[in-house]
């Protein structure tokens, strides 16, 4: 099976593909980290890697279709080697993506790009008055553990000479001083509930400057790149399995199966409807990637991998007979 996987891998990674992938990696690095051109953003680099992975899955679909046209699927059926062949195809595709991720990590490790001081990223947060001295803050997506609310309070209507007060939520209290921003660290429960209610003593008459309320999220350090790339691989694990399932079990054209699998996995980010596990955070990338990086719940990840495993299981079955 390993020999077969190696053969498919060689077919996947032909010279033109290898050359294009290498050039793409260098270009991605330049566009993301160049002192004069780039945004100096790890998220931008990750986004170019995600695009390359998607292109490699399309290549995988194309190669599968070539193998069908060459008659290998019929050979598998006659020799009863469908299970081994499907597994070999899956391993070849996964190793291809793994190799690209390793190269991306090596590139960053060797050249060590300079990224500006790691300031946290700020995002507007929706707030509304809960009462005269209470405010509700809510957000509609998963945010990383350790995120903070960054709040500015107006003391101008407070009793004379009052410059300190207390903000509270459930059992937690925090002092707030006039002229200082309050950083309220959100608990795991707040993050899961996607909302929090903060209160101040009614007699202090504080008001929140709502247009200045922000969520403060730490940007992942460049040393977390390996972990972020591993998460991408976990995401594409099921994408490869979907492609293989479409091709082997549903007998769809290889390229169509690849496009279909990328379309299906895109639906993980569908707002308001939970058709698939909430694993969009696994491919956190782009210029706002810190907001979704490391936010995937373990149960969602496990379900995602189990779906992938089940799809591979189906793919290893012999295809249904074709009616003539």
């Amino acid at each position: 099976m390993l020999n077969l996987a190696a053969a498919i891998f060689r077919q996947l990674l032909s010279w033109p593909v290898m050359l294009t992938a290498s050039l793409w990696l260098l270009l991605s690095y330049k566009l993301s980290f160049d002192k004069h051109l780039g945004a100096a953003s790890l998220g931008a680099f990750l986004s170019y890697v995600v695009l390359a992975h998607s292109a490699l899955i399309l290549r995988f679909g194309y190669v599968l279709q070539q193998r069908r046209q060459q008659g290998w699927l019929r050979q598998d059926l006659i020799r009863n080697t469908t299970a081994r062949a499907a597994l070999a195809e899956f391993i070849a595709a996964l190793v291809l993506l793994l190799l690209f991720s390793v190269c991306a990590q090596l590139l960053v490790f060797v050249f060590r790009p300079e990224i500006k001081v790691q300031e946290p990223a700020y995002y507007p947060v929706h707030s509304q008055l809960e009462s005269d001295s209470g405010w509700t803050f809510d957000w509609n997506d998963n945010i990383p553990i350790g995120s903070k609310l960054c709040l500015t309070f107006d003391f101008s209507n407070a009793p004379t000479r009052l410059t300190e007060s207390v903000i509270s939520a459930n059992d937690k209290n925090m002092d707030v001083t006039a002229g200082n921003i309050l950083y309220w660290t959100l608990t795991k429960d707040d993050i899961v509930n996607r909302s929090i209610v903060l209160r101040s003593p009614a007699e202090h008459n504080l008001s929140l400057i709502r247009p200045l309320a922000r969520l403060s999220i730490e940007r992942p350090h460049i040393s977390t790149l390996a972990r972020l790339l591993t998460q991408q691989l976990l995401f594409f694990f099921t994408a490869i399995a979907l492609c293989l399932f479409g091709f082997r079990y549903l007998k769809v054209n290889g390229t169509l199966a690849a496009v279909g699998s990328l379309s299906v996995v895109s639906l993980t980010s569908l707002q308001g409807v939970h058709l698939l596990p909430d694993v969009g955070g696994l491919i956190a990338s782009g210029l706002r990637f810190e907001r979704s990086a490391f936010t995937t719940p373990e149960i969602a990840l496990l379900t995602w991998l189990m779906i992938g495993g089940a799809l591979i299981g189906f793919s290893t079955k012999n295809p249904r007979p074709t009616k003539k």
Partner: protein, 197 residues
């Protein structure tokens, strides 16, 4: 029946494309497209800056803000239009300088709630009102906006990137000032502070 799976897959692709176009889902790899678009927008922004096309600068800055969440370009476009090039040294006519100062202040005021780091922008808006608008128009409404902006900036202690105990102290002193004297106190503090850069 033989083609049914292909039809189903095609339908799923169509549904995904529709979801992506309606903005309710994001295509895998869309981050790369956005990053590259942003890279190109920065080139356009720099070109507009060189040509002093402030309207284009602001329009491009809004797109950059939408794609990347970074509002530095937006604030700089307001600074360039409303503050730096409205100075006397730029030899603009008074009317022209006032027009661009008001435009810069409006750009800042209308985006306070959406900018990622609004703190330096509200300070800038206060100074645009103080030095480029109120001096010429004497409008009470503009004066009110100036005072409110600067008060909010003092209340934030200068913002996370420019935390200053002096700013926080000024705010606490302002709180202890009699309500009738508070406006003058702010104007005094503004005249003592460094102008925005």
């Amino acid at each position: 029946m033989e083609r049914l799976p292909s039809i189903v897959v095609a339908a799923i692709i169509c549904f995904s494309v529709a979801s992506v176009s309606s903005g309710s889902a994001r295509l895998v790899g869309q981050g790369a497209i956005d990053s590259f678009r942003c890279f190109n927008l920065y080139l356009d922004y720099n070109r507009a800056h060189i040509e002093e096309d402030f309207v284009l600068m602001n329009r491009v800055a809004l797109q950059i803000e939408e794609l990347s969440g970074n509002s530095d370009a937006l604030e700089f476009s307001a600074y360039a239009a409303g503050y730096s090039t409205s100075a006397d040294s730029h030899r603009r006519t008074d009317l022209d300088a006032l027009h661009w100062a008001q435009a810069g202040a409006d750009w800042l005021n209308s985006t306070v709630a959406q900018r990622d780091k609004p703190w330096s922008g509200i300070q800038l808006a206060a100074y645009i009102y103080a030095e480029r608008i109120v001096e010429h128009t004497g409008s009470m409404l503009d004066r009110e906006k100036m005072l409110n902006s600067f008060e909010a900036w003092l209340a934030s202690g200068g913002g996370p990137d420019a935390v200053s105990s002096l700013t926080a102290d000024s705010y606490r002193s302002w709180l202890t000032t009699a309500p009738a004297e508070r406006d003058n106190y702010i104007i005094n503090v503004m005249s003592r502070k460094d102008t925005p850069e």
